[in-house]
Symmetry: C2
Subunit: 388 residues, 2 copies
């Protein structure tokens, strides 16, 4: 087995642990920032490490399309290609193929879609996703799953039948992923539970996925457009059903409070593009809530983003007014500093969460971290949205 999970402490359902991989260890609960195309925006791997990030995520979909998984493999895999020597997780490409691409066809074989780069016809399925992820060489790789659209885009009956279809297909595809996975001794394959917002379908998906003896399991199909309350209900229901001795990964979530409530339900791993995507658009997180630094009121603001923060931007004394100037002038140091701060903000949240579990002292969340929801951040993203 290429992965070992040690649980060091518990507080209710929450767990403090360490995951050991072929490229080193990371503490859990863990936040993984997203290096979509093999780069964390303008940050060097050294700067990423200085944010306290121990494991990062690459998007198989992006690297598959450009520069191509075979080419990355020829460079020695993702680790050597991007000069990150710590643990890496790749997603399967399924979520991006379902959500970003102009889909041409979904069937039992997988998904056929148009490349966002050149419009060419591309196919991804369980076997090709494993081939791509085996070539990229991440320590943790994800099953290729069927991601149904969020409730609300379909009527109730259509939604339910689509989720049932996705559940069944995800289980069949997982079996094919396991068979196609060529490097189980180097790369740990995680299964993904679907089930949408329906508690019964979630339970059935857990049953169909978790009987495979995999090194970890993920909750998929959340944060695809539901309300914060609905995400929370689904996670609170699902996490405790996953094998207790394996890392549990909640995909694509989320804001500070969402992470905390998921940890309390027993989730161990998180990823989210918020730090870098918002950072690129001058939206920064702070202990007192998000700031949109392009706002004119920051032009003469001499204070740092968050006086409580120890990131390279805040500890370095870069003022809100200066960072606003960088964005106004189109200087790429703006997105660099904002992304450094935002990633560190999330890593500090996770440090607090891990300390709370270790000391068995629930985090005084409202005092120390803002209650931020999608709604509170609305409009923080500019026209330029990352294709993830």
């Amino acid at each position: 087995m290429s992965l070992r999970f040690e649980i060091k402490a518990r507080m209710g359902l929450a767990r403090l642990g360490v995951v050991h991989t072929p490229h080193g260890s990371f503490d859990t609960p863990a936040f993984m920032p997203v290096a979509t195309a093999g780069a964390m925006k303008g940050l060097t791997p050294q700067q990423v490490r200085e944010t306290g990030s121990q494991i990062i995520l690459n998007n198989a979909y992006h690297l598959f399309l450009r520069p191509g998984h075979k080419r990355v493999e020829a460079f020695g895999g993702s680790h050597r290609f991007m000069r990150w020597d710590g643990p890496i997780l790749t997603d399967s490409g399924g979520f991006q193929a379902f959500s970003m691409a102009q889909i041409r066809d979904i069937n039992e074989d997988g998904v056929t879609f148009r490349s966002f780069i050149d419009g060419s016809r591309v196919h991804l399925g369980p076997e090709s996703s494993m081939e791509v992820q085996n070539a990229l060489g991440a320590d943790i790789i994800m099953a290729f799953d069927d991601c149904p659209p969020a409730q609300g885009t379909l009527d109730d009956a259509s939604y339910k039948s689509r989720v049932i279809e996705a559940n069944d297909r995800t289980a069949r595809w997982l079996e094919r992923c396991i068979a196609a996975h060529k490097k189980p001794s180097d790369q740990s394959l995680f299964g993904i539970v679907q089930g949408g917002t329906d508690p019964d379908l979630r339970r059935r998906s857990v049953e169909s996925i978790c009987h495979f003896g995999l090194p970890g399991f993920a909750i998929g199909g959340v944060a695809v457009g539901e309300t914060t309350a609905s995400i929370r209900e689904t996670v609170t229901l699902t996490a405790p059903l996953l094998p207790a001795d394996k890392p549990r990964y909640l995909m694509g979530v989320g804001y500070e409070r969402d992470i905390w409530s998921a940890v309390l339900a027993g989730v161990d791993m998180f990823d989210c593009v918020l730090p870098t995507r918002n950072g690129r658009n001058a939206s920064v997180f702070s202990r007192t809530g998000p700031l949109r630094l392009r706002n004119a009121k920051y032009a003469e603001d001499h204070s740092v983003i968050d006086s409580d923060c120890d990131c390279e931007a805040c500890a370095g004394g870069f003022s809100r007014g200066y960072i606003r100037h960088l964005f106004q002038a189109g200087e790429i140091l703006g997105p660099v500093l904002a992304s450094i701060h935002n990633i560190r903000h999330f890593q500090r949240l996770l440090l607090d969460i891990r300390a709370a579990i270790r000391d068995n002292l629930p985090l005084p969340f409202e005092r120390r971290w803002p209650v931020v929801t999608q709604e509170a951040c609305e409009g923080t993203e500019g026209a330029e949205i990352d294709p993830t």
Copy 2:
């Protein structure tokens, strides 16, 4: 006097020295990378320092227009605004106003032009340039001079009369700059010699400028469109005429060989946007000549930009293929790594030059550094050209 220049060694006309300023010292011959709008592209000040840069340049013109010199002053000046605690030099804004702007009017008062930001009518002259540079607070500030266009844009007689006008006006403006300069004990004002490509007019400009007892002098009006040979002739003629005990600064030059020949003529300071401008466009310098990393032939190139280089990009093992991928994918880490490398390339050239003077051993230039000219780099710059 806010500036002290120590000459430590000589080799022919070349000098090895140290310039002491209120924000620390820098070794000469010195190369100053250009942080146009108060940022060195995506590099943090720490990364700039790690390239071996000891002094950087800000463009008064850009900071005057955005965010405004008064605002930068309210932040404590350029040093505190951009968190660079070493020496800074600001240009006067004149060169940019003459070369970039839609000029509305040039007369004895100065230049009236349209702002590149909002098209508004803006004026810069000797007094306002001093006001702007006093507010920015750089250690070395530049006289506001009249920069005539390059020969070739005018017939010979018109060119000569325009250069004579520029010479005379530059001398009158220098007197007004000296009178308007409010902080001579903190900021050292350098005079600028004009004279175009005419040896006699160069000599006359030196006479009219250098009798002012200023802490340093610059050679202006070169690299404004002349041939490499013409730049070299002008510099070789002019540099030895400048006061021997003051730092001599050749503005806006240039490629590796241009710098070396200017050092041999007695120049001490250089600035150029080439490292960052070319870096942003995937054009990188190396000991064997420039590489254009967007070229498909680098897609599978596992070697670093320059195996002989110790910069964060090369020593960090980032391959040409990876950096090319970053540019293809629009990842800002591409320009960051290319700029880091390019700045370090120039700082290593200056380290070699300083060692050659110290040891009185002329640099085996052809063996160690490429003979690169404007022509050899043609086409390395993309459509997006920095407004400097």
